[in-house]
């Protein structure tokens, strides 16, 4: 039994969270934070697959999140919303159809990743970085010009779907889905990357020429890897859209991509556990620094000298976090975990889990 203790612990933790949310032990703010952690874990682990394991340098991960968010939002409004006329599906089917909608969003995002993965056959590093940035801007810009889904004003109406779920059973549905999809993401990536098939990705990272000549179909593996990463980011986007109930192309701009990149490089390139840890730390930091009281406390020596200066937490947050990161980079230039996993750092941990 000991060897499953970590698995059990995680399961208990997830169930505990759901119960706590259901019985209002944790308020809706904390719930949102927990869900954001889940979405950020999905974003950072999926980007880690490309930027960490495959060693590419793409800076436009939010583009795929954007595609996923819009596709699943539009589908969800078609199926259960009233915005485009009568709902296509009976409200009772929502519990089964909702994850399918998210997966379809992910699938379309996966297909859109071809925009980046096909050029990656011929080029890598900085040129691919540019291509991915250009794709990010392109997708945002294209959505801003689509007036039937709101254009730059954004798109809403997804809450109908969430309410349809609440009508069936009054519980923290979005939390439930976020937890499920987060586990699904980590499970899928772990299984893929630990198989000999997935190790082809690492081989490409370390020596692409050798990989190709040693019988790895590098182009195919690249496409698959990009598709997995983009697909999972698309699912994350769908969840995000349904939590907030509103999407705007500008929520997925280069700043969002930067967040995902920061999580990957803070955690350490190619380390799955590092990506998860850094997603938790990063989201926590963002939320802690959102509090005006804490920011005022941190800045009290400066505001004492300049009493007229009243910085807002929302702004200072984005000075302090990058500053902190720059300092972390100076002391640990390889990220929190380097390219190791948690089980490499603490080998005794291996006794407590089996993730097969």
């Amino acid at each position: 039994m000991k060897k499953y203790s970590l698995n059990m612990l995680l399961l208990l933790f997830a169930i505990g969270l759901l119960f706590a949310a259901h019985f209002r032990v944790i308020d809706s703010y904390i719930q949102i934070v927990v869900m954001t952690v889940g979405i950020n874990i999905m974003m950072s682990t999926s980007l880690n697959l490309v930027n960490g394991n495959m060693g590419e340098f793409t800076c436009g991960h939010a583009a795929f999140m954007c595609v996923g968010a819009y596709v699943s939002s539009v589908l969800s409004v078609f199926c259960y919303g009233t915005k485009f006329g009568e709902p296509l599906l009976p409200a009772a089917s929502v519990v089964i159809v909702f994850p399918v909608i998210l997966l379809i969003g992910g699938a379309v995002a996966a297909v859109s990743s071809l925009l980046v993965s096909v050029p990656s056959f011929k080029t890598r590093d900085d040129y691919l970085a540019i291509i991915s940035i250009a794709v990010n801007y392109m997708i945002i810009s294209a959505l801003e010009n689509m007036d039937f889904i709101g254009g730059s004003r954004g798109f809403q109406g997804m809450k109908d779907t969430v309410w349809a779920m609440v009508d069936i059973f009054d519980g923290p549905w979005m939390m439930f889905w976020v937890i499920n999809f987060t586990f699904f993401t980590v499970w899928l990536i772990r299984r893929f990357i630990s198989s000999t098939y997935g190790k082809g990705v690492n081989a490409i990272c370390q020596d692409e020429v050798a990989a190709e000549i040693m019988s790895v179909n590098t182009n195919k593996i690249k496409i698959i890897n990009f598709m997995i990463a983009a697909g999972l980011a698309g699912c994350a986007g769908g969840l995000y859209a349904h939590i907030i109930g509103y999407v705007n192309p500008q929520s997925f701009n280069i700043l969002k991509s930067t967040e995902a990149m920061v999580m990957v490089y803070l955690g350490g390139m190619g380390s799955l556990s590092g990506a998860i840890i850094s997603a938790i730390i990063f989201t926590g930091l963002l939320e802690v620094l959102r509090s005006q009281a804490i920011v005022d406390g941190l800045l009290s020596p400066i505001t004492f000298m300049f009493p007229d200066w009243e910085p807002s937490a929302g702004v200072i947050k984005w000075v302090l976090i990058p500053l902190l990161l720059v300092i972390v980079m100076q002391f640990r230039p390889e990220g929190i975990m380097g390219n190791r996993e948690l089980s490499d750092v603490f080998p005794r941990l291996k006794k407590f889990y089996r993730f097969k």
Binding site: R191, Y197, N202, Q206, I213, M214, T218
Partner: protein, 268 residues
């Protein structure tokens, strides 16, 4: 042309490698000019020539890394034109590199395992859902890889990272990795480069042993004449992309063109 090749194949086993009138140009430079070769099964052949003669280019062309400007290459009777390198490898050509190119942050065992990528026989969904087929294949591959490490006497390094291993072991590992792709023809690009004389003696033994144990044809580029002369039954000499001589070691040793290429012309 295809039909003709096939009838030939039925009449007698196709040569492991056949290159017909292959030419490769880079811009204005002709790196390889009208190159012909026919390697029979189980042959140990040498390819020698001064630096910059186009030897590695020949290997790059054979392994599919470049497409030849002219001419055709057949591996076991099948044309390789237009094939990506991993496809060529799947036809039975494996190679090592002049500068060792191992995957340095993967364990030795993984290095061997990933080299079987083409023969995995399962895809993404099998790997994620851990189907029976997946588990069986992974077990087979692991067993095969461990066996390969064992016959190469590398099993004690199985969990190490290649970058932490001594140079000689890395060379050996690279050859083992190449053999893991089930080749019929093994291309060795300067296997003795950077080795000391004791290591070279061991290498000669190793190559001869591989040749017998794995039943492969070996084609090697080498600058150490004693290695080539001792191992190879046939030697091909190139200079400036041209084949200047071919024959047995004894013939090559006394071939006037070879002596000129290596030592220069004394008539100047």
């Amino acid at each position: 042309m295809m039909a003709q090749t096939q009838t030939q194949a039925q009449a007698q086993p196709a040569p492991v490698l056949e290159i017909r009138e292959m030419t490769q140009r880079f811009g204005g430079l002709t790196a390889v000019n009208n190159f012909n070769v026919k390697l029979e099964k189980n042959q140990l052949t040498g390819l020698i020539g001064p630096n910059g003669a186009g030897k590695t280019t020949v290997f790059n062309l054979v392994s599919g890394f470049y497409q030849p400007s002219e001419g055709r290459i057949f591996v076991n009777g099948k044309p390789t034109a237009g094939l990506k390198p991993h496809k060529v490898t799947s036809l039975g050509v494996a190679r090592t590199f002049q500068n060792i190119r191992l995957w340095n942050d993967m364990t030795v065992l993984d290095n061997i395992r990933v080299a079987q990528h083409y023969w995995l026989g399962y895809g993404f969904f099998h790997s994620v859902f851990r189907s029976k087929h997946y588990l069986r294949r992974e077990a087979e591959i692991a067993a095969e890889a461990e066996e390969l490490l064992e016959v190469f006497n590398l099993q004690r390094f199985a969990g190490e990272l290649p970058k932490n291993l001594p140079y000689g072991i890395q060379r050996k590992l690279e050859i083992a990795r190449a053999l893991s792709t089930h080749p019929k023809l093994l291309l060795l690009d300067e296997p003795a480069a950077g080795l000391n004389s004791a290591d070279i003696h061991e290498l000669i033994r190793l190559i001869r042993w591989i040749h017998e144990r794995f039943d492969v044809s070996i084609w090697m580029i080498e600058h150490h004449m004693d290695v080539v002369m001792e191992l190879c039954s046939q030697i091909k000499v190139v200079d400036f992309g041209q084949t200047i001589a071919e024959g047995t070691p004894d013939e090559i040793r006394n071939h006037p063109a070879v002596i000129t290429a290596y030592l220069g012309d004394d008539k100047i």
